[in-house]
Amino acid sequence: MVAPAQVLLLAFILGPALYVVWISLQSWTYGRPPRFVGIANYAAILGDVAFWRAFWNTFVVTNAVVYGELLLGLGLALLMAGPVPGKRIVISILLAPYAITEVSAVVMWRFMLEPDVGMVNYALLSLGLGQIDWSADPVDALFVVSLLSIWHHVPFTFLILYAAVTTIPNELVEAATIDGASSWQNFWYVKLRLILPALLIAMMFRYIVAMRVFGEVWLLTEGGPARLTEVLAVYLYRQAFKYHEFGAASATGVAMLVISLLIALPYLHQMHRRMFGHAAV
């Protein structure tokens, strides 16, 4: 008898995933039935300059976001683990961005970054620092996308790392201090080693989710100017919902799935060894 969990897994995850793989092998658009074309869609997207540009942009943004969040989240977690007046209120403020919907957040920041008249650019101009030219400069645009994503998602990383930091036994830290360890040595040799598993989990989750960055790019630039700020999710969206090329869109989705699996594979392998490694003995 198949357990309910397996049924749910099959019906809502494996089934649709296999369907997407099947579509990726077809040429399919509105008004025509699907036609088997083998790996032609994969060849088409891998031969498309726009795909590789989107891949590179996704790589840059994902790494900027993940490491930026980890550093910021860890710093905040260590800070909050110490004596902070009004800690509960401060933590609530830190978590607030996560409660805002992505669309609201991007629209809000877009207004603040409006060239010439937006609050942020106006202030930068007044200070003689120029403007963040996100609408015309792809580098500035990807910088803003990364900043937005970090601002929005750092509460998630902070929560995981804060929970890990607060479980560090005080005795270990005290013992290290008594043995002459400086603050930095305490952090590097004691605390970091103990929170490493939580750090790796946060990193893996953020990598997988950050790879799917869409809202920040679409609502800010729609991948422009000249498709120079497009990321893989926007590329997929364009194929499916603008060009109605479902085969190519599905092939892009499968490619993103493979990349996500490759990122998760080392951790899953480690987890499997830890859980079932002793069974071989």
Binding site: Y30, G31, S135, L220, G224, P225, A226, K242, Y243
Partner: protein, 429 residues
């Protein structure tokens, strides 16, 4: 046969289970739906049910005892949703509004042949509806949409800004527009920065006015691509130069129609080319800082005061082949297409598909640009003909144009790239 209570209950239960399965069509045919669902852009709902000149659907709804549910989307969004619904076994749309450039022979099979409906139960004075507009929604002899709205471009300018810059009359040639645009890029006495021109960049609609003003074309109705010829290259060069000089806003490349409207309403742009019907938006005292100051005329040619062939688009009402209430859908289409309701919608700001609507005194009063729009319509051309890869073709054009604006390619090379990339996507004629 002796009927026991058990047998009677069993027979009754079977009848109750089988009857709906056996005759759904009969059941549906016998009962009218509570509502019809229309999928469209918000502008169609606004002009069809507007308060200014009245609701074109009111009498029909009362006669039929059926309500209407309008589900509105963006221009691209409505097509994505409509085609998706029309591809299902049974769809939710009873009437779909489609734009000609998102159509094509590849989707014709998703919609009913309205020529057959027209023969059986004709629309009033059908021949009055522009032949070109009907042709725009006819594929291989199959009429899939009844034209309802045209969106034809005119040239808008802010009279107050012209006066402030020392101009005593509006520009009458493309060269004058270019000269005015540079002078109208200025900072007002209150510190507000004004750009001389605003262009929407979501598709080539605004660009084709400039291309045609230079005597060029983008893609001809028989699918020849001419974007690397002088007219088109000059238009791309002009936009590149405007961007470099600050005549276009720094964030122009993110501008959609909504941003252009806001820029004109808020006084951040002095001139633009947009559908004539925007006159209402630009002069609305509730939304615009310059009510009564935004004027519209025909877009002029280069080197001449003659009007350039204006860009037009034609929205039409279609019935998906999987719609549930086709006869009722046709009945509503007939109602909305009547002479009286065409005038009503025109007075509400619609681009009427019957030229006779422009002669109506109420339309002339509520839409003072009627004469100019009628003139523009006479020579207007579609943005480009519909075909399967039209969305990709438009994106390619905008991508290469923006590369030229950013200085990553010279305009001629950019247009050559456009031709090389779009040509393989065009239908073979």
């Amino acid at each position: 046969m002796h009927i026991t209570r058990r047998r009677a209950a069993g027979l009754g239960l079977m009848a109750g289970l089988v009857a709906p399965l056996a005759s759904p069509a009969i059941l549906r045919a016998q009962s009218k739906p509570a509502k019809l669902t229309i999928m469209s852009h918000a502008v169609h709902r606004a002009v069809a049910t507007g308060a200014k000149a009245g609701d074109s659907t009111a009498e029909w709804r009362q006669r039929q005892g059926i309500e209407l549910e309008w589900i509105t989307f963006s221009v691209e969004g409505v097509h994505e949703r409509v085609y998706r619904e029309a591809s299902l076994g049974e769809g939710a749309a009873d009437i779909a509004f489609i734009l000609e450039r998102f159509g094509g022979p590849h989707i014709a099979g998703l919609f009913e042949d309205l020529g057959a409906y027209q023969k059986r139960d004709p629309i009033e004075a059908f021949d009055e509806i522009g032949a070109g507009m009907r042709a725009a929604h006819t594929y291989r002899g199959k009429l899939i949409g009844i034209p309802y709205r045209h969106a034809t471009h005119g040239f808008f300018f802010n009279k107050l800004f012209l006066r402030e810059a020392g101009f005593t009359q509006p520009p009458t040639t493309l060269e004058e527009i270019i000269a005015y645009a540079e002078k109208l890029t200025f900072t007002r006495s209150d510190g507000a920065r004004v750009n001389g021109y605003a262009l929407s960049m979501d598709d080539p609609s605004a660009m084709v006015d400039l291309i045609r003003a230079y005597g060029g074309e983008f893609i001809t109705p028989d699918y020849k691509i001419l974007c690397d010829e002088p007219g088109s290259v000059k238009a791309a060069t002009l936009v590149r130069d405007w961007y470099r000089k600050g005549v276009l806003a720094r964030n122009t490349m993110t501008f959609k129609t909504e941003e252009v409207i806001t820029a004109m309403q808020q006084g951040r742009a002095a001139m633009t080319n947009q559908p004539f019907g925007r006159f209402v938006n630009y002069n609305d005292p509730k939304l615009s800082k310059f009510p009564g100051e935004i004027e519209v005329v025909n877009f002029p040619m280069s080197g001449s005061t003659a009007a350039a062939p204006a860009k037009t688009s034609v929205w039409a009402m279609a019935i998906p082949s999987n719609a549930r209430n086709k006869e009722l859908s046709w009945s509503l289409i007939k109602e909305l297409s009547s002479r009286r309701n065409t005038i009503r919608a025109a007075a509400n700001g619609n681009g009427p598909v019957r030229p006779s609507a422009y002669d109506d005194p109420e339309v002339r009063k509520l839409a003072p640009y009627s004469e100019a729009e009628k003139r523009a319509l006479a020579d207007a051309r579609l943005v480009l003909p519909g075909f399967e890869h039209v969305a990709k073709a438009m994106d390619i054009y905008m991508e290469e144009l923006q590369k030229a604006m950013l200085g990553q390619a010279e305009p001629l090379q950019a247009m050559k790239n456009v031709k090389a990339r779009i040509e393989p996507l065009l239908p073979k004629t």
